[in-house]
């Protein structure tokens, strides 16, 4: 059975290279999705993230990817901004509609500490799950100024500057992590390997 991991390439801002090599390190076969026709060749979807909410949604729209992501019924993993894009609305550089797959909004992190939140940090698993299996106690690399605000579908939290925020979500086939598994040493590779091993139905 094929198990090809599609990595959504949405223009100028994605860190495709890092995500691709980390998935390959985790034992996955990858296909970078450059056009709408590539979606039918893949069994899982990773939405990487470096960029801003507004420009990324614009890119996804002009590439014709929005409906294809929404209609994808096998496992999806959103990373950092890729997770945030799953939300209903984002407020980075103005209000922008997101993919609306998760009932959430994306807003600036409001806390006493320095922003962006950058560095390795432990997570606190709220609902045990297959994605974070065996790495619940590890630390992961965060690099963001915005957070996803939601009250359902939460897998894990992290706290920073006395402020607790959502760092992993799941709803049915859709997963998201605020941190960067591709930048989180062995623990991140293990997370990607967990994702690769999810069933494709």
């Amino acid at each position: 059975m094929s198990n090809i991991i599609g990595i959504v390439n949405y223009g100028v801002a994605g860190n495709i290279h890092s995500v691709k090599k980390a998935i390959e390190k985790a034992g996955g076969e990858t296909l970078v999705i450059n056009s709408a026709s590539d979606f039918k060749s893949v069994d899982k979807l990773v939405i990487p993230g470096v960029g801003s909410f507004k420009s990324s949604m614009k890119e996804l729209e002009s590439d014709g990817f929005i409906d294809l992501i929404k209609g994808f019924h096998k496992p999806i993993l959103g990373i950092c901004l890729g997770m945030q894009l799953l939300a209903k609305i984002g407020y980075e550089h103005g209000r922008t509609d997101g993919l609306n797959l998760i009932d959430a909004e994306v807003k600036p992190i409001l806390c006493d500490a320095k922003i962006p939140h950058m560095g390795f940090q432990k997570i606190q698993v709220i609902n045990s799950n297959k994605l974070l299996k065996d790495i619940e106690k590890e630390e992961f690399y965060f690099m963001h100024s915005y957070e996803m605000i939601n009250y359902t579908n939460i897998l894990a939290l992290t706290s920073y500057g006395n402020h607790s925020f959502v760092c992993s979500i799941q709803k049915d086939n859709i997963y998201g992590v605020q941190f960067h598994p591709e930048k989180s040493r062995q623990a991140g590779i293990k997370l990607l390997s967990n994702f690769i091993q999810l069933e494709n139905n």
Partner: protein, 249 residues
Amino acid sequence: MNTRIIAKLDVKPPYVVKPVHFEGLRKVGEPAHLAKKYFDQGADELFYIDIVSSLYQRNILSSDIIKTASELFIPFAVGGGVKTVDDFSNLLHMGADKVVINSFAVQNNPNIINIAAEIFGNQAIVVNIEAKKWKKNWECYTDCGRIQSGKDVIEWAKDVQQRGAGEILLQSVDHDGRRRGFDIDLATRVVNSVDIPVVVASGAGSLEDISKLIKVANPSGIALASLLHYDQLTIKDIRNYLRNEGLMT
């Protein structure tokens, strides 16, 4: 949150070099090899600065960057001669997570920071400040500490934050490569002047220098070069020491 420990490679392709006072280059190894070594030691991040591309007005070499990124599963910031949105985009596509900019923003057009932040997000924009003491203040230098800008370091730090920089790499032209301690006054002033993370480089010569910097200035990260290049200490040694001092968990 723990202070990030970052290994910094100053590259004059095809070698990592170590300038003293930003002058007098010494070869210390190949970028990909050293990157792997510091990743294995447990570095939190890697900075790769092509220190001659701006001075020679040429583009940064892509093959070395791709090779360096290939075995690295930690954040990777790359800079050197960055001028345009395309430069940012190209470096991010080569495997950089953050792009470091200095000369062009200080000397030519600071708006590049605003434009890049809007497209790539604040977290992807690192502004490198090369500070040199002048009377009671510090002035921004560029092109590896060679060219003056007339800009005050503190004012510029506040300005780049306003424009959307996600982080500041603070180097000291006076202290760099001497391994006699950081410019703690400079670091404290800059850290306290901005709300974005500041990574302090230049001058680490001992474990005590590092703990003193953390105690007094408490930057988000420290960038180390000579200390690691000459195997004086490993990142593991530093972490263990800081844990014992109660400065790290």
